[in-house]
């Protein structure tokens, strides 16, 4: 690390009190992990408006979120989640000015396109599940708002399973936040959906 005579007394004291091997190892490993994370963020930024390559976008986002969940890095998770929220906000903004994006981007993500909405919804459901696994409740709530927005744009008949999962997750979030009234309401909605589907099966 230092040539003989180069280090000051303070630096020598610091080296003596910290684990030098650990420090050297960290210096080797950290750039590679940073590159791994940054590359996926670049992919997300580059593909955020392309409806044809949304599967690659979703794969990249899920890879990042699963990495953060596996290695318990909450700060990084929140950064990635913020990026995903921003990208969704851009899509919402673009939906308000359809003529503007139609001229510039060849295959934009449109909220009127059912396939695109379905893929957006899949991604956000995965994001919510990862946030719940990480116990990041406020971020989970934010994601659930996006999911609710997307659910309202889908046909009511083919979203029963999505609604079941959604109300299950909402019940958990409200329980954690101490909103017992909303928790009960979410469970009541869940019960209603389960009962309806059971009645249909019995018929």
């Amino acid at each position: 690390m230092f040539q003989s005579g180069e280090a000051t007394a303070e630096q020598l004291m610091l080296i003596a009190y910290c684990d030098l091997d650990e420090l050297m190892e960290r210096n080797k490993l950290q750039p590679k992990i940073n590159f791994f994370l940054e590359t996926y963020k670049i992919i997300l930024d580059t593909l955020r408006q392309n409806s044809r390559l949304m599967e690659l976008y979703n794969t990249s986002a899920e890879k990042l979120l699963s990495f953060c969940t596996k290695y318990k890095c909450k700060k990084e998770f929140l950064k990635v989640s913020e990026v995903l929220h921003q990208h969704f906000q851009h899509i919402q903004k673009a939906a308000k000015q359809p003529d503007l994006i139609n001229n510039k981007i060849p295959y934009p993500v449109r909220l009127t396109d059912e396939e695109a909405t379905s893929k957006l919804l899949d991604m956000r459901q995965a994001q919510l599940e990862y946030a719940l696994k990480m116990d990041l409740w406020s971020d989970a709530f934010r994601t659930s708002e996006t999911i609710f927005f997307l659910i309202n744009r889908r046909d009511k008949h083919d979203i029963k399973q999505i609604l079941e999962q959604f109300f299950g997750h909402m019940a958990r979030i409200f329980w954690k936040s101490g909103n017992t009234l909303f928790h009960t309401y979410a469970l009541q909605n869940l019960l209603k959906i389960v009962r309806q589907s059971n009645m249909k099966t019995a018929d």
Binding site: L29, P31, T39, L56, Y71, K72, C73, K75, P106, Y107
Partner: protein, 120 residues
């Protein structure tokens, strides 16, 4: 400079350890309007650039060139764009797989986890 000679020059620069120059050569070849129609060659140039960026952990050049490449080919050839991004994802996953194999999951958790208290 033709794309073939750009690839050769970049390769030579890499062998001499001058990877910044190699990146500049590839960047210029990718930006050359004469090469725009040659999809196969553009893919080779981009793959070579990704390889150099992955080897040297360079995200700045990667971001700039990927965005330029997207702007060029999102109108012309979506399959080409898809194959380049798939290649990048594959190479990126290899990095993590290698680290996990070499260092083990516990070591990465120790480095990345917010719960870990660092001595320095």
């Amino acid at each position: 400079m033709t794309p073939e000679s750009a690839l050769k020059t970049a390769d030579q620069h890499c062998n001499d350890g001058l990877w910044q120059q190699a990146l500049t050569t590839l960047h210029q070849a990718l930006g050359n309007r004469r090469n725009k129609g040659n999809n196969a060659m553009m893919e080779r140039l981009m793959v070579a650039l990704i390889d150099i960026c992955v080897k040297n952990n360079n995200t700045v050049a990667l971001r700039e060139n990927l965005q330029n490449f997207r702007n060029l080919f999102q109108h012309a050839s979506m399959p080409l764009l898809e194959s380049v991004f798939k290649y990048l994802i594959k190479e990126n996953n290899k990095i993590l797989a290698e680290i996990e194999k070499k260092e083990g999951s516990e070591r990465i958790t120790l480095l990345m986890s917010d719960d870990t208290t660092n001595s320095v």
